[in-house]
Symmetry: C2
Subunit: 407 residues, 2 copies
């Protein structure tokens, strides 16, 4: 495809208008929104309003006057159409890792006698570490199997299954409904990590029978670096489940200051400590970038973007690169990985030319497509630059081989 | 004392200059820095810099370029002189409640076979709820006793003692060294909650033999609403203790993306998930308000402020009010509680007149003194306004009796 054809696609895209909601630096093709979403234009003003006028002027009274006390649920409600859940099933809280621990512990406690946490080998590392830490603490066992062995590994000892829905490397995703049904057939609870799904593809947590989920606020939800995470607990489970990470913000009457814990109603009991209001303010600006966006349109554009990128890369770069994601865009999330033996250095050379993706060992160059701001034109340009870097050997310079702290 | 004498004290105070580091609204006497510290003037610019220039311009590269990956330890190091600890013993992370859970679980795991978490009745509620939740999860027992019975309640079943150093109601505080020694004599670990201590009074965590501590970032440390908390783990314990809330940020090599957990060095293993960089930016501005401040000067001013307030209130208001904090300022933290049968309504009337304190059931009006920004002049003015409200019965209006969500 030539640039003009790509530009024509951009002009006719129903999501073209959404790019104006972001501030993106000139000369950059940002294909790493799956690691850190771009800055929503409204975020700095929202932070200023929260810091200067609310914190600065109204001080402690802001908890009532500006309703800070309700922000974890009020902001979470904006996620409901993005993930296909009811507003009262969602909460913003903590980090993804802490939320994973919280819901895994909740699930383990709800299945006394069962000793297995079932998960996938090469799951996102923190998901494995959290499960291992909880298992050591409670005398449980983490069983990690290949992705296609999850259903056959379920048994009467399985308390909870925890999986990342969209794989952070390959972008392959699980059939949510099938896994939920298999877990339920084994009387286990199912906990999804939606970090690479929420805001990237269409989800229907309620329609597919999800029990529990967590997700990341700083990737496709554009909530800013280290944004708080979200928790989903199906309404039908909220009465029976108890959060073992009790804290005053999850108490039925936090300001009664009584010695004994009584859980708050519904999703509220899953709050623990005092939430960062500044972080919530930025996350709200991130979620507002989805205002009026149809998730069906978003998913359609995501697939078209990644499909165009893959075909342009393959056409221009040939056999030197290899697609390491499912070829069918309907079988992957909103990123792709392209393998190259010198992927680290090639990615550094791309970054130096303004094409920002990231690298995952051993040889995976990862490119994320955010349908709210990425353009078809960028797909063609990025593929051209990649072909250029490979063709000229531009990547083979000492400065591109040096590893940085964060890759 | 008349206002002119109080102003003379302000002029001669070695901390007078520090008020300029804060933005405080006109017409307000803010005596609630123990609930939410005032806005540091540098905070909005720090947020803007972090959001617009770092997140907005440098995007994902900021983790390296702006050193975000090191912020939890870099910002924590600024706490070292404030709490009397080594920089490598401190970490910014999560919320106070989550940090309490993390360190309590760590401590319980380090004392296998021991089944008791010892604490105080009427401890700050979240401290009790966290302990109860962990005890239920692990099959432990929470023993809550009167403050003067802690040492005699220690026995060979005590895994960990958890206490709030400065009581959030009365401001009375424990003898840290004596409690640490008693806990150690029983081979138990000691976990302090410093939420009402850090930034309020002189602390010497290392000198008094502390094991573990957590504290709040949004009170005297001025880190903003719901600021992240801090964790202290004594260097001598860092090798032997393991954090059961494992996460990728506490891994020895977070970006190796391996399936098995290897704890990071020293304090690093107590990190779990990705920290909010925006919340850290605001907290850094809060900690910077302590630059060049001697904690001895700060404590001396705190005592003089509260002493002046108490004597002015007692002199002007007479028997209608009762001091419900220790009378000796050397035996209390940086706030006082004044009891009045209609304390809630009286506090609302005070707030309506611009004197901001808060209320704790059943009858306690709580006033906090932040030596960095509160002035002696404000002590006299606030006492005068309180006397006026009590003398005229101005507080006895329906609008002042209405309870709000957060009190």
């Amino acid at each position: 495809m030539d640039i003009d054809e790509a530009r024509a696609l951009d002009l006719s895209s129903p999501l073209a208008f959404a790019r104006e909601r972001f501030r993106l630096p000139d000369g950059v093709i940002y294909l790493d929104g799956n690691s850190l979403g771009a800055l929503p234009k409204a975020a700095p003003q929202k932070l200023e309003e929260t810091a200067e006028r609310q914190w600065g002027e109204d001080l402690i009274a802001s908890w009532n006057k500006h309703g800070w006390i309700d922000w974890p649920t009020r902001v979470a409600a904006k996620l409901a159409p993005i993930v296909g859940a009811k507003p009262n099933e969602l909460l913003i809280a903590d980090s993804t890792s802490i939320c994973l621990f919280k819901l895994l512990a909740t699930a383990a406690q709800a299945r006394p006698g069962r000793k297995t946490i079932l998960t996938q080998r090469r799951n996102f590392p923190t998901d494995l570490y959290v499960a291992q830490g909880l298992a050591d603490l409670l005398g449980l066992h983490v069983k990690a199997v290949e992705p296609d062995k999850i259903q056959s590994a379920l048994d009467e000892d399985t308390a909870v299954v925890t999986l990342t829905h969209v794989d952070y490397r390959s972008a392959a995703f699980y059939d949510m409904r099938a896994i939920n049904e298999a877990a339920h057939a084994a009387s286990a609870l199912m906990l999804w990590d939606l970090s690479h799904s929420a805001g990237a593809i269409e989800l229907d947590l309620d329609g597919t029978g999800c029990d529990l989920a967590v997700g990341c606020g700083y990737k496709y939800l554009n909530g800013g670096p280290g944004a708080p995470a979200f928790i989903f607990v199906a309404e039908r489970l909220q009465d029976e489940l108890a959060n073992p990470l009790r804290g005053w913000m999850g108490h039925a009457e936090p300001f009664a200051f009584v010695d004994d814990y009584s859980p708050g109603e519904g999703i509220m009991k899953f709050l623990t400590g005092t939430p960062s209001i500044l972080a919530l303010a930025a996350l709200e600006a991130g979620l507002n970038t989805f205002d009026g966006i149809s998730m069906a349109d978003l998913q359609a554009k995501s697939r078209k973007l990644s499909d165009l990128f893959v075909s342009e890369v393959e056409m221009r770069c040939g056999a030197e690169v290899r697609l390491a994601s499912p070829r069918d865009p309907a079988r992957r999330g909103s990123h792709v990985v392209i393998a190259h033996l010198e992927g680290y250095a090639v990615m550094q050379a791309l970054v130096a030319r303004g094409v920002i993706g990231d690298f995952r060992a051993p040889d995976l160059m990862r490119f994320g497509f955010c349908p709210l701001y990425n353009r078809f034109e960028e797909m063609v340009q990025a593929a051209k630059i990649l072909a250029d870097i490979l063709g000229t050997g531009e990547w083979d310079q000492p400065r591109f081989h040096r590893r940085s702290k964060v890759t």
